[in-house]
Symmetry: C2
Subunit: 480 residues, 2 copies
C-alpha cells in the first residue's frame, strides 16, 4: 500500500528564502494546477478554474456593459493568412505550433494554432463590414491560444493559455483610440477594485509593443518580490491591418474608407499576479471579490450534537446572502482544515462549536491578518460582508504600499543600476525615446522598459542614459 489515503497539508518553501519555489509550491499545493506530459502545458484544476470562471464572469459583464458581443473564431490559421501583415507574422511565426497532417493526409497548406486572432478577425471583418452602418464592430472572444515558448511557469508562461481577446473596428482613428483607452481602464478598474491589485497605466515603447500595433497601452503591477507583471494590454492598430486585409466601408459621404482597429487581451497570467501580489508563507490569499470560496465554515467538535447542523445553517444563510460559502465536515481535524483553507487562501473562516451555539455566536477569522472576532449570529451576514470588504481594502492598501515604497526615481544609469540591485522595484527616469538607451538599460541594469506612464512627472531635462534631451518619464523594472 504505497499510496497515502490522507491528503497532507504540506509545508511550502519560505517566500523570502526562495520566492520562485514558494510560487510553484503554492500553485501545486493549493491545487490550482497540475503538470502534464506535454511540456509547458498545464491543467487548471477545479479551484484554479473556478477562479478563472469568476474572472471571466466579472470581466464579461463589463465588456457587455460597454457594448461588446462575444463570438468564436477558428483555432487554426492558414500560413498565408498569418503572413498578410508583415510585422505581425514576424512577431508570431517563431512561436507558432504547426498542423501539417489531417488524419493520414499531409495538408496542402500548413495551419498554425492561433497565437492571437487578429488575422482571423480581419478576414471575417472583410466579409461583414460594408458601410458605416456596420460600425463599430465590438467583438470579444474567450478562448485558448498557443505560443511555443522555450520555458514555462504555472500561469506566467504556458505554451497554451486561456484568455479573452477583444477585436474592434471603428469609423475613425479617434473612436478607435478612445476604445483602446476605454478597455485599458476597464482592465485597470478590474485589477484594482476586484483583484485588489494596484496598477501603473501607460504606453509601451516601440520595442515592447505588440507586433503590428501602432500603440500598446498596458497596466503594470508590482509583485511581492518587486518584479513587474504586465497584466493586461490594449492595442491601437490604426488602419494597417485593414489595408493589408482590404477591409473597406462606405462612409457617410459614400466614400470607401479603411476602418480603424483595436485589440485587447487579459489572460490566466493574471492568476499568477494574484498569487504573487497577495500570497504569504501560509499560501494563497484570494481577493474576496473574486475568491471561488469567500467563506469557509469549519465546525468545531463536530461529533457533538447539533454542530454540523449549525454549520450547515450558516452556509445556507451566507449562500442566501449571495456569498460563496462552503463548509468542510470531513473527519479531518479542525487544525488540518484551518491549514488547508489558509493554503487555499479562503479570505474568511467561520468557526462554530458547541459553546458558540450556546451563546448564539460564531468566530470569524481573517486570512489576511489572522484577526479573530466573535460575532453574534443575528449580525452574521452584515459582519461577514463588512469583513470581506475590509479584507479587500487591506489587501489593496498593502499592495499599494509595496508599489509606492519600491518605486524610485533615478537620475543616472549608475543610480538606476544600484537601486535595481539593492532594492528592486520600479525605477522612474527621464528618457530620450531612443531604442539604443532602452537596450543599454536592459544590458547594464537588467531592466526592461515597463511603460511611459500616463501620469508624467518632470524629473529633469535630459536622458540619464545618453545625456541628450529627454522627451518623457519612463518606468523600468525586472519583469516576469
Amino acid at each position: 500500500m504505497a499510496k497515502d489515503n490522507k491528503k497532507q497539508v504540506e509545508q511550502i518553501t519560505d517566500m523570502e528564502a526562495d520566492f520562485a519555489q514558494w510560487y510553484t509550491d503554492v500553485c501545486k499545493k493549493a491545487e490550482l494546477i497540475d503538470y502534464t506530459s506535454v511540456k509547458g502545458m498545464f491543467i487548471l484544476r477545479p479551484y484554479g478554474y473556478a477562479l478563472w470562471e469568476n474572472i471571466q464572469k466579472t470581466l464579461d459583464a463589463r465588456f457587455k456593459e460597454t457594448g461588446h458581443e462575444n463570438v468564436y473564431l477558428p483555432l487554426l490559421i492558414p500560413e498565408s493568412l498569418l503572413q498578410k501583415e508583415k510585422d505581425h507574422v514576424e512577431g508570431f511565426a517563431p512561436e507558432c505550433a504547426w498542423v501539417t497532417f489531417g488524419g493520414s493526409e499531409p495538408l496542402e497548406e500548413r495551419l498554425c494554432i492561433r497565437p492571437t486572432s487578429e488575422t482571423l478577425f480581419c478576414e471575417h471583418y472583410a466579409n461583414v463590414i460594408r458601410s458605416w452602418r456596420d460600425l463599430p464592430k465590438l467583438y470579444n472572444q474567450w478562448c485558448s491560444v498557443l505560443r511555443w515558448e522555450k520555458t514555462s511557469r504555472p500561469f506566467l508562461r504556458h505554451r497554451e493559455f486561456l484568455w479573452q481577446e477583444g477585436h474592434t473596428m471603428h469609423e475613425t482613428a479617434q473612436e478607435a483610440i478612445e476604445e483602446t483607452e476605454r478597455m485599458l481602464h476597464v482592465y485597470a478598474d478590474f485589477c484594482e477594485n476586484v483583484l485588489a491589485m494596484p496598477v501603473v497605466k501607460g504606453v509601451k515603447t516601440d520595442k515592447e509593443k505588440f507586433s503590428g500595433a501602432e500603440d500598446t497601452y498596458t497596466i503594470e503591477c508590482m509583485m511581492h518580490d518587486r518584479k513587474a507583471l504586465q497584466s493586461g494590454t490594449s492595442h491601437y492598430f490604426g488602419d494597417g491591418f485593414a489595408r493589408a486585409f482590404d477591409i473597406t466601408f462606405a462612409d457617410k459621404n459614400n466614400k470607401l474608407s479603411y476602418p480603424h482597429q483595436t485589440s485587447w487581451g487579459l489572460s490566466t497570467r493574471i492568476i499568477g499576479g494574484i498569487i504573487m501580489t497577495h500570497g504569504d508563507n501560509n499560501g494563497l490569499i484570494m481577493p474576496p471579490r473574486i475568491a471561488p470560496i469567500q467563506v469557509m465554515v469549519i465546525p468545531i467538535a463536530q461529533h457533538k450534537p447539533g454542530v454540523i447542523e449549525a454549520a450547515g445553517e450558516l452556509v445556507s444563510r451566507l449562500t442566501a446572502a449571495g456569498l460563496r460559502t462552503k463548509s468542510d465536515t470531513s473527519d479531518q481535524s479542525p487544525g488540518w482544515k484551518f491549514a488547508e483553507y489558509e493554503m487555499k487562501g479562503v479570505p474568511l473562516r467561520v468557526e462554530i462549536g458547541p459553546k458558540d451555539i450556546e451563546q448564539a455566536q460564531c468566530v470569524l477569522v481573517r486570512r489576511d491578518t489572522g484577526e479573530k472576532e466573535i460575532v453574534s449570529l443575528d449580525k452574521l451576514e452584515e459582519r461577514v460582508r463588512e469583513t470581506l470588504d475590509a479584507i479587500h481594502h487591506n489587501l489593496f492598501a498593502k499592495a499599494k504600499k509595496n508599489l509606492e515604497e519600491h518605486t524610485f526615481s533615478a537620475y543616472s544609469l549608475e543610480e538606476a543600476k544600484e537601486i535595481s540591485q539593492e532594492k528592486g522595484g520600479f525605477i522612474k527616469t527621464m528618457w530620450c525615446g531612443d531604442l539604443a538607451c532602452e537596450l543599454r538599460m536592459k544590458e547594464e541594469a537588467g531592466m526592461s522598459s515597463r511603460c511611459i506612464p500616463f501620469e508624467q512627472e518632470n524629473l529633469g531635462e535630459t536622458c540619464p542614459i545618453c545625456g541628450r534631451g529627454a522627451k518623457k518619464m519612463i518606468y523600468w523594472g525586472v519583469a516576469y
Copy 2:
C-alpha cells in the same frame, strides 16, 4: 461603389423544396455563422454565439447542481498517450489533426489536437486519485475539439466544434452507471424543457457506441425533415481506461482497486437541431427559454413624438422583469424590421405606435403562430411571460406531433424499406442483436440504428431481418 450600404432581408429557399438549402440559408441569413478560408471551420457570429452562451449557462448550472466542477485540460495530446487505449485510438486517430512543428523545430513526438479528452483526463486522474476519499471525481470541461471530417455543414459537422465533455470517476460500477444515466436525463430534460425538443432515450448498439466505451446512452431527436439527430451522449467505460492508464485507489478495505469511469458530451451540433426542429419558411424560430433575444420591441411611426421613448420604456420594464429584450430604432421600415427578426426567430414581437400610446396598450405578435394580441400596458410583463410560455409549449407540442406521426412499426425488412422511402421518420422493429442485421438494414434500407430505447415495446418474437429470435426493440432512421 459596389458595396450595398443597406442590409437586405433576403429570401430563403423553401424548406419543402430543398431542406438542406433552406438550412444553410437560415444559418447564414440569420447571421448565426460565417464561413472561413479553412475548410470545415466556421465562425460563430454574435447571434449564434449568444445562443451557445445561453446553452452553456443553463447546462452549466445543471452540472453544478449535480455536483460537477469545471476544469481545463490541454489542447494537445501526445501520440503515445492517445495510443494507450486500443479501441479509443482506432476510433479517433484517422480524424486527428497533427502538430509536427513548434516554431521552426520539428517535434520529437507529434501531438494531436484533442478530438475528445478521455486520455488527458486519465493521465490527470492517475496523478490525483489515491484513495476512496478522492472519489467520485466529477469533472466537466467547456472547450473546442477537432475532428478532421471529410465533409462539413454549419453546426452539424464542423472540423472544430465547441462542446462540453464531462469525465467522472467512481468507486463502483453501479455508481458510474447511475452517473451515466443521470447525465443522459440532464440532457433529455434540457432538450425537452428548455429547447422544446422531444427526445427518444436509449442505448446505442455496439456498432454505434463511442470508441472505448462499454455502453453509450443517447438522446435522439427528429428534425422537421424526419431525419434523426443524435443530440447528446453519455458513456459508461467500466474500468477499461483505468486499467490502461493504471489509475488505482485504495478502497475502504485498503485494497487497491480500479475506479469506474463515465464521459458525456453535448456540442454546438444542438444548435443545428434547434434550427431544424422549429424553423419555418420565414427563418429561425428560437425556443423562448434559450433565445438570445426573447422580445423585440418595434416602434411604429417612430418619427412621431414619444414613440421611441415609449419603446424604450417597454424595453426597460421587460428587462427589469428578467426578460432578454431589445428594440430596433434604426431608420429601417417596420416591415423590414418585422422580416429581419422573424428571420432571426425572435419568439415575440411587441409593436408600439402613437395609437397604442394613446390607448395605453401595445401589440404582441407571436413568431410561431403569427397571432396578434392587443395588451394593456399594465398587463405587459404578465402577458409577455405567459405568451413566451405558450410559445414554448406550442413548439414542443408541434415537434412531438412530428415525432409521433413519423414513428412507425415495421415487421419486415421490406416494410421498413418502404416506410423509410415513402414517409421517412423513425422505424421501430424487433432486433436479434447481430451486427449483420444492422449492416443489412443500413445497406438495403439506408437506415442506421438510432438506439435501443429505454421504453421497450414487444412487436413480436423474431428479428424481421434474419427471422431468428429477437432480443430487443430498436429504432432505425436516416441520421445527420
